[in-house]
Amino acid sequence: MQASGWDGTPLSSGFNAMASGYVRQIVFKVFVNWTRQAAWTPNPVTGSGTGVQAGDDITQYVLSMNEQRDITGDTPDGARLVTGQGVASISIDLGGSPTSSAASGMAAMLWSPFASASPYYGRKRIGAQVAVFVGFDTGTIASPHPEYVTKFTGYVRSLNLSADNSRATLEALDPSDRLRQVINFPMVLSGDAFGIDNQRWGMNSQWPIDYALRQNGYLTSPGVRANSLFLMTCHGSLWPEYGTGQDCFAYTYADDFVSPRLTRPYFNDRFGDGLGMANYAPEVNTFDATQRRQIQAEYHFGQNMRLGIGGTATPGIQLEFRDYSPWLIVSGAAGDDNSMMDIAAITIDPGISQSVTIQRRFDGKIALSVQLDGNAANDTVITSNGSITNSDPPGIYIGAHLRLNSTTSVTATFNINGRIETVNATLTIPWANTNIGFGWFLNYWMGVRDIHITNDNTPNWASQTWNAANSSLSEGLNELDVLLPTKQTEQGLDAWSTVSDIANAEFGAAWFTEKGSVLFRNRRALLKGGYDLALTGAKHVKSVETSETVDSIVNHATAQLTPYVVQPYSWVWASSSQHGLHSHETITTRIVLDDPAYGVPTTFTWVPIGGINTSSWNGSGAANATNGYRASRTPEGGAPVTNLQFVVSVLTNVIEVTVTNPNAFPVYMVSPTQDGSGNPIPAASVGQPMFQVAGRLVQAAAPIAAVTEGTATQQANAGAIGVSTKTTSQTADTLDSTSVADYGEQLYPVPDSIWIQHAESAQDTTNELVAELALPIPTVQPIELVGNPCLQLSDRGLLDTSLVNGLSQGAYVVGITTDITADPSGTGEGGLAQTVQARMTAPPGAWILGDQDYTGAGATHSSLSRLPDPAHGITGTTRLGHI
């Protein structure tokens, strides 16, 4: 449910009362960004807003609207679990001008792409941004008080015009329509089974979802900036979004505090040494005019950090600087869209005045300033400017900008106090010429949403535009051992298809909200939780259909997973042709491998007689791995050349090798007659190409069909280093024998996916599918409702139509069709109406047909109500037969 209006303002009690009332004054607004303003924020109350141009408000032309939101997926029809990706679209019927009797005001002219008199002539109509707001007017005719929620955000997909009936239809799709950029993931070997370099990044499906979205500007936390040095989002993995893995280890001590196969990174008390920047700051070499070092670190604590609520009247989070008594209150309860928290920033500048300033208000919501001189009179209390709303979820951001001169150190200590937890954080900044330490001591586990280090040379909070998050992601349930980039030889998937694939693989769902933010919810999040609203037969429900069908049962689920192996170091490519270089020539060879290669060395070694012992590269000898070449002054093998220069660039399965001949004579990359020491090279090799690249191929498991039937065995250690052959794929299998006995076997093979890699995750998937779907839980759909513009996908409602059909159960919404139509007389069908597809959140409280094991209420016949007489239904159906 949307709890706040279009601008984040909490909806009034009057609004909510009218939503469930018997007389409702409905208001709506439709805006189109015809002129493609970059900053465009229409205000439905005023009809104007940032960037809004004359003519953008097309409300006056609207005849009716139909909006559809659905989650679609692969689960069986009628199954309680509905997962996949959501799509929202809106169709708006448009008429002509209600105020102009001129011909140009007719719909056929107004919306025609050929009518130059139309104000919309020549605009980039297709693809223009659309915003639709719907709400109620809780005021009076004399003193209206319209309140709106955002109902749709998207882009014009089509604009069709019928000249004969003078009516146009504008259709728009949600922003998924714009996420068509092909995503190329970095290559990450995250599974701890690999044990490579003792790195345990951990990764679940949240990370690639986040990455794909971030590449398209959908951010769960602030993105990379111009001065970023290192950014670890922590969204499902410690693998940094920006910067290198080595950076991450150097500065976060990741291997100390990251548990294997983590589902979400956490700091714990082992992280007491803090975020080490010991080797970092000197590399920055950014100094201000007074030769003070500059570095800025930002922490975004996750929305899972349930810091306390200050009280029911003033919910919020308190941030207290222990010694100096300023405080910060951030209001907020969990919202549906904006997961990024309002931000406080800290500037510590002992080189100037020993002051701490929390100076920046973010998103115009918080302002705070603190003086560190201990004089309370100088303290400035952090204040809200009144625009803090309950759309701001829990979570907090702390940033620090450090500037130190050569003689000063400073320690600042502060608490983050809450009703439940208390966080003590100590910031200690000793000075040394080559060492700046910086750390937070956290005495309890705390979700860290990201760590961002920049070399911003001023405390730049004030100048940064860190928009509110437009993405909110559940934890991913599929652990990933390998993240592979799109092969350069393949057509990659676009961002939204990738996100949808990942969500589908774990039976989660991803969709866009009414405000245009992205949500990803895993299957557990969809099914669990309290009720967002009550839908009663008295006020809301117009009709409801229930059905029980065998199609909804899954009592046997299988999932085939695709483990990966990282092959030992070996040659991954060798030239089969002679490469010749003119004097002083540079050539680049582009090598495309079938499988990505990991750990390709950047060095080239002249291959000695007898070759290089590649087996010595494995185990502790990985650092010795090298590429190899030989070169000769003649193509058929002449005098040796040993001074070629190489530059290696690795793009996963594409390796580019640039070779430079520094000599004043031609060189051929073949075996010469002798090596550099004059030892003869075997004649069979002389003149043969010798240009080869080393690495470790990352390969998917072979299909299980390739294994002889009856001999296949599951390999528990798939992916272990040293396995030189491809492993077989594995299958997770769950069966509910009781359900099979009652209903027959209902097999559901989980669709194959490259995102199912890990045996435990796959087993969790099939286990949870069968647990949820083994019983024939009725579906309740469609439900026709008196419309409520706040209703959203995944909302859970307590559905109470018990007077008619005994139904009083929870259901969650997986599809909403909203109609806004008007009957001119006001007495017929019309108004704000919705048709909802829903799934039960729990089994019925009564008995289930055929479920002999059920012992709950209503399980025995004696406790059952009398079976209802169909002739006594609420509509008084006439019987056809005799009584």
Binding site: Y22, I141, A538, K539, V544, D823, P824, G826, G831
Partner: protein, 118 residues
């Protein structure tokens, strides 16, 4: 005298024939939904005046004058209606319908023009 203008907010008004009666109810534009338990929910988008002008006997010339607002002769509308009871506040209206029950030639009887506020 009821006058109608095809121009923008004012402009040149044309006098309509004198109507025998004019009703001015306020209508609700919206819809009524009935819940499962039989309650009704009245959704309101707007409240608008509906003007129903009942004319007596009209000559063909007078009828054509009235009909001109219905058949597009005077443009597609909407038009401005100046109600003699409230001449200071012309209403922006569209023509919902025109009925003509007259069987007579040369004369028109039972002509009703229905206008609704935009």
């Amino acid at each position: 005298m009821t006058t109608v203008s095809a121009g923008a907010s004012g402009g040149t008004y044309t006098n309509l024939p004198e109507a025998e009666s004019v009703s001015r109810p306020i209508s609700i534009v919206g819809g009524v939904q009935t819940t499962l338990y039989g309650n009704t929910v009245q959704d309101i988008f707007a409240r608008k005046h509906t003007f129903t002008l009942n004319f007596g006997l009209l000559t063909d010339t007078e009828f054509i004058l009235v009909k001109g607002w219905m058949d597009g002769t005077n443009g597609p509308g909407p038009f401005w209606l100046k109600d003699p009871r409230d001449t200071a506040n012309p209403k922006n209206v569209i023509v919902l319908g025109l009925t003509d029950d007259s069987p007579m030639s040369g004369w028109r009887d039972g002509v009703t023009l229905t206008l609704q506020e935009v």
